[in-house]
Amino acid sequence: MKSKSNGKDFCIFALPGLFCFVAVVIIPFVYGVYLTLTDWDGVSSVKNFVGLANFVGVGKDSQFWMSLLLTFKYVVFVVVIVNVLAFAIAYLLTRGMKGQNFFRAGFFTPNLIGGIVLGYIWQFVFSRVFVNIGESTGWSLFEVSWLSDPTKAFAALVLVSVWQLSGYMILIYVAGFMGLNEDVMEAASIDGASGWRKMRSIVLPLMMSSVTICLFLTLSRAFMVYDVNLSLTAGAPYGTTEMAAMHVYEKAFTSRQFGLGQAEALILFVIVACISGLQVYLTKKKEVQA
């Protein structure tokens, strides 16, 4: 394609999609950034320009930084577990075993249910089903509801997120494995003493493009966790599982400091953007050009 027809091409191919995207995402986002510079409370018809006062306020909101720290911890767990698990399952599902299509579909099903309902189901499972099992079997693991203990409630959040995200990632990894040719797969079958080494030195580099995508997707989704956080724990017990996105929402609406909440959302966005950017840069470098 030559640059002569560039303008026309742009109008035909790029403009419709770009218009929707800019109108729905970018303009409200820019408007939202402007709101962080005001003292707007969400409803008032008066918006006073307050400069960077809201960002100073973010610095003072110790709860926000706590929730951010917790979010980091959560992201590390989720990203590592999801990717390891999805990678392993995808590997098993591409070895031509019986019923692998059925399994693939099954692992994908958690994605069929929306976030809020999903959290409610799991809440039901943790607080009713597990406790019920605990009562009838006497297993101390299930004796008390997981959601009433800070550590276990956090574990529950990680578990549910892993459950929800891994199906999607399994699909991408499955695709990656199927793209490798037979010789590589054969070499990688873990039946010899050197299996693990082969996996690391031959398969993994070839899978790096899938890894890049999956890491990016899990990273950004884990940082933005909101639905599951709200419907599974709602920050309980006593505010110990409140993640950054939920804190932002609470700040804006429950505490009614809209500008402050918006400023925190912006800071969260910048942090995630930096981290994901770094991740994509690092993993891209390792990708083997096939």
């Binding site: 027809s5 729905v24 986002f29 693939r104 579909a105 099903t109 990656g176 039946d191």
Partner: protein
């Protein structure tokens, strides 16, 4: 010879072992669904007192919850609304995103670079951060909320970035430019080339994006709840609102309602499954 047979046994063992592990994990994955199906047939008291038992309950099992969910949700109307919104938005976003991604891949100029970077970056904007500005602009300033078209438009816009990202990856790795050049030599315009040559080749990734987007639109709660308030326009997830009380929820009906919402998308998924697997296979590799 001896060596191989030992290796073969080992392999068999490994296979069986991995199958067992897989089945265990699979059951764990399916556990919540099993709970939903079982409890959707039970009365509230049984759900709370003995969520795990199936056959032995105080009140017995029945389809009452389904009947209640079906009528209270105004299922057919909500189904129609969901269908219109989901189908239109899916078609629009698939078409627009494919074209946009194609443009970005084939035009390596600064415009396409900025557009693509902007889109990737936007994938990490928390929805909560643009929620209020969004209703402020579309409601307060333009006053076009409460129309299906607005919702379709917004769904299209919000899923654009992710779709372009996926199409971009696919086109980049799987569509050889030589085919297009051949088409130009034959005198095709860009427009014709795209729809006659490129678009058919995108089939695998298209089916993947169709299912992913359709599922997201079908299940979405937050955005429709901001856009639609008119009862006649409510989508399926919105129509289950009445099952949640201020202090407690009507679990049985919620689970029945959930199954009613999920079944159509499950059918779509099973029908498209083969294409999806192939689509992702071909799509995400590079």
């Amino acid at each position: 010879m001896k060596q191989t047979s030992v290796g073969g046994n080992k392999k068999k063992l490994a296979n069986i072992l991995s199958m067992v592990v897989l089945i265990i994990i699979f059951i764990a994955y399916m556990f919540p669904f099993l709970m939903v199906v079982i409890n959707s047939l039970k009365q509230k008291r049984d759900i709370i007192k003995s969520p795990f038992s199936w056959l032995f309950t105080i009140k017995g099992l029945s389809f009452d919850n389904f009947v209640k969910a079906f009528t209270q949700m105004d299922f057919l109307n909500a189904f129609k609304n969901s269908l219109i919104v989901t189908v239109s938005a899916t078609v629009l976003v698939t078409l627009f995103a494919a074209m946009l991604a194609y443009y970005v891949v084939r035009h390596k100029n600064w415009v396409s670079k900025i557009v693509f970077a902007l889109m990737v970056a936007s994938m990490i904007i928390p929805f909560q951060a643009i929620m209020i500005p969004l209703v402020n602009i579309y409601g307060g300033m333009l006053n076009i909320l409460n129309h299906r078209l607005t919702l379709i438009f917004m769904h299209t816009g919000f899923s654009m970035a992710m779709s372009v990202f996926m199409f971009h990856g696919f086109i980049n790795g799987n569509i050889p430019i030589a085919l297009e050049e051949a088409a130009y030599i034959d005198g095709c315009t860009h427009f014709q080339t795209f729809f006659k040559i490129v678009f058919p080749l995108l089939k695998p990734i298209i089916s993947t994006m169709v299912i992913l987007n359709a599922m997201a639109f079908w299940n979405d709660f937050l955005l429709p709840s901001l856009v639609l308030t008119d009862k006649e326009l409510l989508t399926l997830p919105l129509s289950t609102y009445s099952f949640y009380g201020t202090y407690s929820a009507d679990y049985g009906t919620i689970m029945a309602g959930l199954l009613l919402c999920v079944v159509p998308i499950l059918i779509l998924y099973v029908v498209l499954q083969k294409q999806i697997i192939n689509g992702v296979v071909a799509g995400a590799v590079k």
